[in-house]
Symmetry: C2
């Protein structure tokens, strides 16, 4: 486009969360972590934040929006989701939560339905979920494959996902498909499947857990991915203690996800390596499992991110606001820590330096809340508080 | 209006929850409780349900709406809320959840702000919350006073509430205001305050708890209310064991609310009296308290309702869907039991025979979910699933 970029100023922001480290000194305590600015304005130009400051000092712009004293926060960065799938598993959920036997379910149901779906059906399904996320304030999302489990179906799952985000993750090593040995399957994942998947993926991930892939197999997959230019991520220590988290730290991965069952050595390894622990409390909510101990991690100096893990089996929420509320209720994070984890640290968990912070030059991904403070995200659980969303400077949700 | 009533048919309903006891035999198990009809249609005429049955048999109507295979459920009946207030207590919530001291807070903050607000401000605030509830599928709501605590402010709180619902509840006996003895305050509540409040109220309620009103005081208030034509409800056994629930059963109240700390005698009294136990799990979520044991009550034959308790102090959610999800996660209700409790039993807790069930002659209060099954209300926690709402036959929400 050769037309001059339109500028937009959002004024009357009662409380602006910037996450800007340069503003940490302006307010003590919780507000400092979030780089809070009161009575603020933001100027957007060409898809990026051009200016942030007191509303009284805001420059003029082509379009003016009045936030009416409400809060504005950075768009949520959901660094862990499994959106490429088909089928419905609500009956399995119902059986699990009521203690009834249910033999037909499990991930293999989703694999069969995903393989049977056309690319168009998968695309339509992902579009619907990404739109649902956007309406709830999520402006960046990572999307994994992992319900294809064949060369063809993993590659096309990633091609579908790539239409929606640059943060696509090859998770061929999600579960060993029926009729295959783990050894043979790892050979497939690290050979022809990786070759087919790599052009569509930025990341590679392994479900490192009893019953899925052990530490040695995970190491093999991560190393192969690295050889094909993919950066590593890991599902680890979700259901049991084990070596997954320490493997992630050994590899210097940017993030390791779940982290529910951690030894003191695991916590120390995370603190030493700087690997981010991404916690997914929606999973524990929807499986009635104990929650990870965010407080322990934070107190040890570990960086914590929050993500949805949106998937049809263990957690079918797409609500980052619910994850924040659960983090406060169940994991003893403060509302400020939880919001920071769902935005700035989520971005860090994807090694993204363009989102999660509202400062000049960053992507203009903003959420207007129908509330005077970000605290309402936890104070008002379950309530849809998103009144407006700008994504790369464009108003994509307005209520 | 003298024009003939418009008829609307909603067809293509993949799963219709009727709650109609006459349909209990059609499907076994969970579906039976809900009077489920698959591939259904509903005809609305003059604000009421005119016809329910298989889509293939549906009569023609002036307006046709295609549910596209999605689920339709009765509008939620929220039988416990405190919407008439002013002020914000998010800082108090943040302090509570992070273990910080907070001396300025508490219910008296809300009382001061409510007294200082104009009728117009209170009306505007209630309208906003009722609209927020409606957008989340709540089509019937009970609203209490209780932040006025003076003759004038309790009466006007109820007059404000009465604009929105017939189910207004006089809760002068919410807390003893500063500078008054409990004895003197009960005299005021049962004397001039009751006289001023009664014209605007259908119900009378007491917060029967250590630190609020004891059983004898609660009995006095309920008896006085009854003498003025108000039916009784009770907050009881929220924070401690005590005699409140048995008092409710002794009075034969239609419902007693909270029921978190119950003795075996309390449970037996509820089962014997038929008094409904209304559980408010949003409170336990937002105060980090233990949840009431719904399973124990249901297994003992007690009828259980779910409500939001939406209020600025202990629980500022307005989401009945979240209450359903919490009931399943934390109180071991099945998704079907939880939905029934949030609709049909909620209506029973207000002694309403016109809402909570979708059958000919009932109010046409319906919610179209953006999901194939009601189970998604618990399976997809935090996600705004309401795609459409009809209230008394009118489309009031459409997305």
């Amino acid at each position: 486009m050769t037309t001059p970029a339109l500028t937009t100023v959002i004024t009357g922001i009662g409380e602006l969360v910037t996450n800007d480290p340069a503003r940490r000194e302006e307010l003590a305590g919780q507000g400092g972590l979030l780089g809070l600015v009161r009575d603020a304005a933001v100027v957007i130009e060409g898809g990026r934040v051009a200016w942030v400051g007191p509303a009284a000092d805001a420059p003029a712009a082509d379009v003016q929006v009045d936030a009416g004293g409400r809060a504005v926060v950075p768009g949520f960065v959901d660094s862990h989701s499994h959106l490429v799938f088909a089928g419905d598993r609500s009956a399995e959920f119902e059986a699990r939560m009521t203690g009834q036997p249910y033999t037909a379910g499990g991930i293999r149901t989703t694999v069969a339905a995903t393989r049977a779906a056309t690319d168009e059906q998968l695309t339509s399904h992902v579009a619907r979920l990404v739109g649902e996320m956007r309406a709830q304030g999520t402006t960046s999302v990572e999307i994994k494959s992992g319900y294809g489990l064949s060369v063809h179906d993993e590659a096309r799952s990633l091609a579908v996902a790539r239409q929606f985000t640059e943060d696509t993750t090859f998770l061929g090593a999600h579960v060993v498909p029926a009729g295959t040995s783990a050894e043979d399957y790892v050979d497939l994942v690290t050979g022809p499947m990786l070759a087919a998947a790599a052009p569509h993926a930025r990341w590679i991930d392994v479900f490192c857990e009893d019953g899925a892939f052990d530490v040695d197999q995970a190491r093999t997959v991560l190393a192969a991915g690295s050889g094909s230019g993919l950066r590593g991520r890991l599902h680890a220590n979700q259901l049991t203690y084990g070596g997954g988290v320490r493997l992630a730290c050994e590899f210097g991965l940017v993030a390791v996800d779940h982290c529910t069952f951690l030894s003191d050595d695991d916590v120390a390894a995370l603190a030493d390596s700087g690997t981010i622990a991404t916690l997914l409390p929606g999973v524990e909510f929807s499986t009635r499992q104990p929650y990870p101990d965010a407080r322990r991690l934070l107190d040890a100096g570990v960086r914590v991110a929050l993500a949805s893990d949106c998937n049809p089996g263990s957690c079918f929420t797409s609500s980052m606001a619910l994850c924040i509320a659960l983090a406060v209720r169940e994991m003893r994070m403060s509302p400020a820590e939880a919001l920071h984890a769902a935005t700035a640290t989520g971005a860090a968990a994807l090694d993204r330096d363009d989102v999660g912070v509202l400062a000049p030059g960053m992507a203009a991904d903003l959420v207007l809340l129908d509330a005077p403070s970000y605290v309402h995200l936890a104070y008002r659980p379950g309530v849809p508080l998103v009144a407006g969303v700008w994504q790369a400077g464009r108003p994509v949700v307005a209520r």
